[in-house]
Subunit: 365 residues, 2 copies
């Protein structure tokens, strides 16, 4: 028998910060001018590739401040591990930094996810700023406070919601990106266009030559449009209880492909681009969208060279590919116990979320 | 030059749950009657001691449900590690549990802190309920959503704020606690009394015989008073930005003692009890409280057998004890970069937080 009961009703407080300020800079060195404050305990985290960007190298070499500690993680998705996250935390701990210290990520999504995760855990929450150096991160990864790392061979299975207080954007970083990393980012741009931005969808089609050649003004335009669209969603649903789930369009397929191919064998964006095609094919098969919309999406994906085939080349030679993909999909964080959940579309800017039967999934794999 | 700026302003959302329901039960088996739901994916986490409590053993043996996974962590503060936390997460992952699954802790503060930490990280946040089996946990640890584990030889350096949706209390658990664990809990009770509950302070003095003999009605009274007092604070300040810091009374000293003695060599409560005496001695030395109040507190601590000496026996034979304690205090999460922060008192129910100079700290060690 319950003999007595009372409730604790919590006042609502921000997860780390009540707002994220996104600042665009004209050149990279301008970001670094005021990034580190003299008296602020600061951990800077970057990776072994980013550290070689000349402006970053110059900045890090110039730091001469006992309150600043730098952590360099080996580049690559395969290092998105708890060990890496702990090495960031340990850097702060070894300097006896307080919970008021600041973590700064300079890098792509892997570095920002891990630095943000470390920051959220350090003494139950320190400060966080991010300098994204990839298109994928500016358009998607660094906005909205999802933190985490891979665990036990599954992507981002552990993490927190912990947005940065400031994001420092400069399109110049994108000019020196390897082509596959640039394409990886464009996939998230296409996703955002499909979800919320018909105008961006048109720009991606009509201005594809300028975009492929990384015209700086076009880059600024697409980053700004993506960042605004994503901001609009996450400010309504930071903890992904509703609306925000739409941002996983293409990701149930994409994550499964990454997992089956093996982490690091295919870029996140390439996997998501394939997933976008599969999600729209599935939407068509289920009678949700028109053939015209599917054709539109496939055309855009093909313009940028993404696979719209059932089985991408990278896993074509494995056995039981369909079963492996389905098994990986069952691990997706969006699922509830009733089945595998997919983000689907009726048309551009019209999205729904549904549990889909295994036979219908198999039909598009 | 910053060329463009915009802000994302987040809607405030709960950390995991908007309220915690505390339910008191008459007997232990009544807790277990409805704890596990048939169709709910559930991870139960307990330790190698608690699993031998007859009612717990009976409950766990009776479970015959593919949706329930049990994790048993070796008992003891020394197992409050990230490895233990990950083993809880892995249990859920290996069963492909969704983010809607539930983690249930059955145990003392070590088990509930770690299970809550695991729950907060699993797919960025699963459900959580706690069955506290110690006085320390009922009076303090399981209320208010602090989660975490030890890391790199410092206590609770990583963690999150993630309150449970339900706490299931039964004083019967306390009847079978080893004496040192019971005393460990009483220290937190005394702390709460000093901070917020003059009536509880009186009861602890006048009814000390009944309390020492674990009279069930007295236990219920002190648990209820502590839980209400702590609830009142954490519902105003879940993330410890202000008021809640007061709950660390005695803990800067206590944590340092635990660290210097070596984790597991002294109970958390025994260390906190010593810290309570030191904090009031420090308050007296700084001219904040009266000699009478110090005497009152020391008398109460002595009634229950706690050390009110400068140097507790457990570390008396170490060299450079003062320096070691100070060094450990510098790691305290409450500190900012200006110095070591202490919770001090003017009198019962009148508390303040101040940075204290090292010479004043040394004077009470």
């Amino acid at each position: 028998m319950i003999t007595d009961t009372f409730s604790i009703k919590y006042q609502l407080v921000p997860h780390g910060t009540e707002e994220t300020k996104i600042q665009f800079y004209n050149t990279i060195p301008e970001i670094f001018e005021n990034l580190v404050q003299n008296n602020e305990q600061t951990v800077i985290c970057t990776d072994s590739n980013v550290v070689n960007i000349p402006e970053v190298k110059t900045f890090l070499n110039k730091i001469n401040n006992a309150n600043v500690e730098t952590v360099i993680i080996p580049a690559g998705e395969e290092n998105k591990t708890l060990e890496s996250v702990l090495s960031i935390i340990k850097a702060a701990l070894d300097k006896s930094f307080t919970r008021n210290c600041k973590f700064i990520a300079i890098g792509g999504g892997v570095i920002s996810d891990m630095t943000a995760f470390a920051s959220s855990l350090y003494k139950r929450g320190a400060k966080l700023e991010i300098v994204p150096t990839t298109l994928l991160s500016m358009a998607d990864a660094c906005i909205g406070g999802k933190t985490g790392c891979d665990f036990d061979n599954y992507k981002n299975m552990i993490g927190t919601f912990y947005p940065a207080s400031k994001l420092h954007f400069c399109p110049d970083f994108i000019l020196s990106l390897p082509e596959n990393e640039y394409l990886s980012g464009l996939a998230e741009v296409i996703k955002t266009a499909m979800l919320y931005a018909p105008k961006l969808f048109q720009i991606l089609k009509t201005e594809n030559e300028k975009i492929k050649s990384r015209n700086k003004e076009e880059l600024y335009q697409i980053i700004k449009r993506c960042a605004l669209a994503k901001s609009n969603i996450v400010e309504k649903d930071i903890s992904e209880t509703g609306l925000r789930k739409q941002l996983n369009l293409g990701h149930t397929f994409g994550h499964a492909l990454e997992s089956v191919a093996g982490f690091g064998k295919i870029s996140h964006g390439q996997a998501v681009a394939w997933g976008l095609g599969r999600a729209i094919q599935l939407s068509l098969n289920l009678g949700l969208c028109e053939e015209d919309y599917k054709d539109d999406v496939f055309e855009l994906l093909n313009i940028y060279g993404y696979s719209t085939e059932k089985t991408p080349k990278i896993i074509a030679e494995q056995e039981n590919v369909q079963e492996k993909l389905i098994k990986a999909m069952k691990q997706d964080k969006k699922n509830d116990s009733n089945g595998i959940t997919f983000v689907l579309q009726r048309e551009i800017n019209s999205t729904l979320i549904e549990i889909v039967q295994e036979k219908d999934i198999l039909a598009v794999l």
